[in-house]
Assembly symmetry: D2
Homo-oligomer: 159 residues x 4
């Protein structure tokens, strides 16, 4: 029997046109997620997704990439487990549903769709340099704060 | 051969807890869509979806409902063509992709996910009493203005 | 209020490498579906799907095409209402769920997946020159017989 | 950087009404998959899925369950990583696409849909007491033979 004590944290954010500052933050988010013993789930592609995955792997963590296309080779090279959907943006919903909590790092309209689903499904979501002024979303300044906030929120949920 | 001159306009908005004012607006939106000779597509359930469908039927129009569940009986009674997905909220993407343009009437997080996909896919979207301050979204005050704006935007796209 | 008396009949079958005999049968199936006053739903692309849609339009019927890709222009020119999913083969399930009954004409593995879902969802399915020896599937030789069988089965379901 | 040397093997089969012989075979299949160092992916529910997952865990392996519903608690207790889709049977496609190769153990129409997608996507599939006489599918008698055949086929693909 599986204990399933490992939490799954989703990282959502843009796949391209990222500033180096944003990529640094995403990598730190991934690093801290792994440090906390959680599994990272993301969209499996480039930009924020790749940086976060790299951070998690540098810290010895596990990464899941839920891909929109039909070829696992499209996963970035820091993904341990590629989930191949072939369903385009519908895969965004799978990331949100599979994550115990979410961290949004930057992001455009695709990320906004994920935030919206996350809030609709009543998941804890912490935002870093992302869509602002959304009710029920918590904003933090640093990657470390974002991850520790998410971990605390999950601990409260499972009390 | 089909001429496919009929445009398909999506109406997105909340399925419950609607004020009577919002329902009135939604019904007017549906009425004007049908008056313009366009087909209405929506999520097929209650609230804004039902009111807009009722408006379209009162005006002699056609309605498509893209349902999240697996039973066409869940469609409201103003839906001509129920599309049964069994895919939950993933059906939101199908509404957005199938619509030539969209009108958001009220709405919560589910609607925000649809707006986000609409903007991601570069669809024209007009908002009525809905999520504010979104770039590339056009806001109007009345149902008639919302529909006439959408029709003009589509005419420009197809010039 | 919609009476929704029009049944929706799904036509499933291969999109390419069709013999002229198979295409003729598919076109006849579409023609008879429209003659019976039913709406045709299919995958919206070429081959059997296009031939059946053409038959339905020649007979003055209505056609819905549930597309795998993200562009409605991929619909064949006999589709009145393109439903754009962007979800690849997951759209097969939507065709099956939305149809009141199904007719399989020829077909390969994609069609077999649709037959399997149809049988799983306990839909009436009639086969013409298609996957053989499947329990609960009814086989017919001509398009006219296939359509009249489906219509009778639906009448029984709704008694 | 991930080496991703671990193959992912899908196990498909019915979720209920399994004979004890079938469950025994499914458990052996899971056991041998883990012995070969591969990850098991399945639909995450009961019957064949649960038995195979149990076998993999007994052998120290890793298991992924791609769930149709919207609650990870529906996963059987031998699933390490629940992927929560909320997309009903559309999740069958994700299992097939994510697996490097598949083993069908028993199964009804849902399993037939997965076999059909597997063959459509040109995946290697080995069958044990399942749908018969399908071209391009390989049949074996024992769990050990089924797994060793799948492993050999994958080795050939990656030569």
């Amino acid at each position: 029997m599986v204990e399933r004590e490992q939490k799954i944290i989703g990282v959502i954010g843009q796949g391209r046109d990222c500033s180096s500052e944003l990529l640094k933050k995403a990598e730190e988010v991934g690093w801290h997620i792994a440090q906390q013993g959680a599994i990272l789930i993301c969209g499996g592609l480039g930009g924020v997704m790749e940086a976060a995955s790299r951070g998690a792997k540098k810290s010895g963590g596990k990464t899941i990439g839920v891909l929109p296309g039909d070829d696992k080779k499209t996963a970035n090279r820091y993904i341990d487990i590629p989930i191949v959907t072939g369903m385009g943006e519908a895969r965004n919903i799978i990331i949100v549903r599979s994550a115990d909590a979410l961290i949004a790092v930057g992001g455009r309209f695709g990320t906004l769709s994920e935030i919206a689903f996350g809030l609709a499904f009543e998941k804890s979501i912490v935002g870093l340099q992302t869509w602002e002024n959304l009710e029920n979303m918590i904003y933090r300044e640093t990657a470390e704060e974002a991850v520790s906030t998410v971990i605390k929120m999950l601990a409260l949920e499972y009390l």
